[in-house]
Amino acid sequence: MAVTVPKTQPPPPVREKDDGWHLSSPLVLTVTLLLLLLAQAPIRRALSAPVMQSWTTVFVAVVVQALPFLVLGVLLSAAVAVFVPASVFARALPARPAAAVPVAGLAGAVVPGCECASVPVAGALMRRGVTPAAALAFLLAAPAINPIVLTATAVAFPGQPEMVLARFVASLAVACAMGWLWQRLGRADWLRPPTRPAYEGQGRGAAFWGSVRHDVMHAGGFLVIGAMAAATLKAVVPEPWLRAAADNPVVAVLALAVLAVLLSICSEADAFVAASLTQFSPTARLAFLVVGPMVDLKLFAMQAGTFGRGFALRFAPATFAVAVGVSALTGAVLL
């Protein structure tokens, strides 16, 4: 199929000031696309080995699957940023941050979608003055406890309603714990306030579409990195390793938690994968379901892009540890 390069006007003579390259990016884009079009046949040949084909398929699948939800999240976030006055959140959430955390976590239950949608929305909430601890609780809870995900879990584990309950309880507990932890220990300078042009002084339309463009370009680029990592692991890690890990109860929980991070499966689908990991204990599978929507490669890349690398490097490992601990505890009580 032919690639049609959209008609872009030649850029206005804006001098790129400080960064050193003087090529205009539309020119680079056009030349790159033409070269790749010419090199199509050798590229296809290079990718025809089964392992490369499977890599490309999974890579495309993760991106294609995540993009609609990313777009949904970006639209919601733009709407929050432009059309919802900050006072609405001030009124809806309790003034004390400690009380706002569980409320924001529970609010995640009503936003349908997966983790790709919740990153931009959480970013928009922070910019609208919601206390970071509450926005983070929302970020962690929303992809795990919304009705779509819980229904999928119930379908994947027929006759085991305790798995749905355990997932809900454990995910909400981790989200609140992380919110409170951030409130006690978090420092504002770890969070990079997203650099973006101020929307004041623009029309609402310009502000709305500016926010959409900005968020897609940022989160989208990192989504691609995450998808590449997930595809690599899916194509390279042999499944017999998992079998060896399943035999030891402690190793099993850790192994599935790590697997959830590496596979980066959408939270709407992860229950089915967990259900197929029959050789593992229910607690290990619960850890897979709790960790997956909160920490994974794709999500880490997107968080680093939205909130800054310093934040993601501290937040993701802490979330991982709390999620594994809470899953083990919940599993011991409920499963």
Binding site: L29, T57, V63, Q65, L75, R196, R213
Partner: protein, 233 residues
């Protein structure tokens, strides 16, 4: 990356999503239920591209606000979709993963027809968990692609999918009896046969793999939706 390049990338990304969603291309990667969302997301992205160019014309960005270079990576999925269009998951992935057959809650009586057309996973579940009770004395017809294990034994496989190819899990049925002598991996076959009590364990995850006694096998074209999405219905 300046605003115009961003608009171009957004437009390309949106157009390739619309292209994938409007054709059967997307069925190689994601569940069919996602198609309307893909179209919608594609249209929104193209609209964002148009809006970017439109507002840039009315008031060119005064501050030199450039998006990070990581945004260029968004071209990769576009190129992969448009230039390469990788095939659906096939025998390579199927043989690396263990069979994900699950015990169904009930076994409704077979529909009418002789041979009766069954989903591959449906046959496998009845054969593996119900000792083929509901399959006795009936000829069944199942469709899947061929995968060969290291020893060269042939399996008929369908990959079950819930969301996207990243969560695809194979369901395998062993072929025995009148198996065609030469089988190419990844060819789609329509197999007619009967229940056999023979079964084996998947070397990857020790899951059950039932067999089918083949009476006839003919190559067919790959279905437009190569995955088994029965979980979604």
């Amino acid at each position: 990356m300046n605003r115009h390049a961003q608009a171009a990338v957004l437009c390309l990304l949106g157009a390739s999503l619309v292209h994938a969603g409007a054709t059967e291309l997307s069925l190689r990667y994601v569940k069919s239920g996602l198609r309307p969302l893909l179209l919608l997301a594609g249209v929104v992205l193209v609209a964002a591209a148009v809006a970017t160019v439109w507002y840039e014309r009315r008031s060119p960005a005064s501050g030199h606000h450039h998006e990070p270079r990581v945004s260029w990576l968004l071209l990769l999925p576009v190129l992969a979709l448009v230039l390469i269009a990788p095939p659906a998951l096939g025998s390579y992935s199927a043989m690396r993963a263990g069979t994900s057959l699950q015990e169904p809650p009930a076994y409704p009586p077979l529909p009418a027809g002789d041979p009766v057309r069954l989903g591959l996973a449906d046959y496998a579940a009845r054969a593996a968990y119900d000792q083929g009770r509901s399959l006795r004395d009936r000829e069944v017809r199942i469709t899947g692609f061929v995968a060969l294990d290291r020893a060269g034994d042939a399996y008929l496989v369908r990959i079950a999918l819930n969301c996207c190819a990243a969560d695809g899990r194979p369901v395998k049925v062993g072929l025995t009896g009148g198996v065609p002598p030469v089988l190419q991996p990844d060819t789609w076959l329509e197999v007619t046969g009967t229940y056999t009590p023979r079964r084996t364990r998947d070397p990857v995850n020790a899951g059950p793999i039932p067999f089918i006694e083949v009476t006839a096998a003919k190559p067919v074209t790959a279905p437009s939706d190569p995955y088994d999405e029965s979980w979604n219905n």
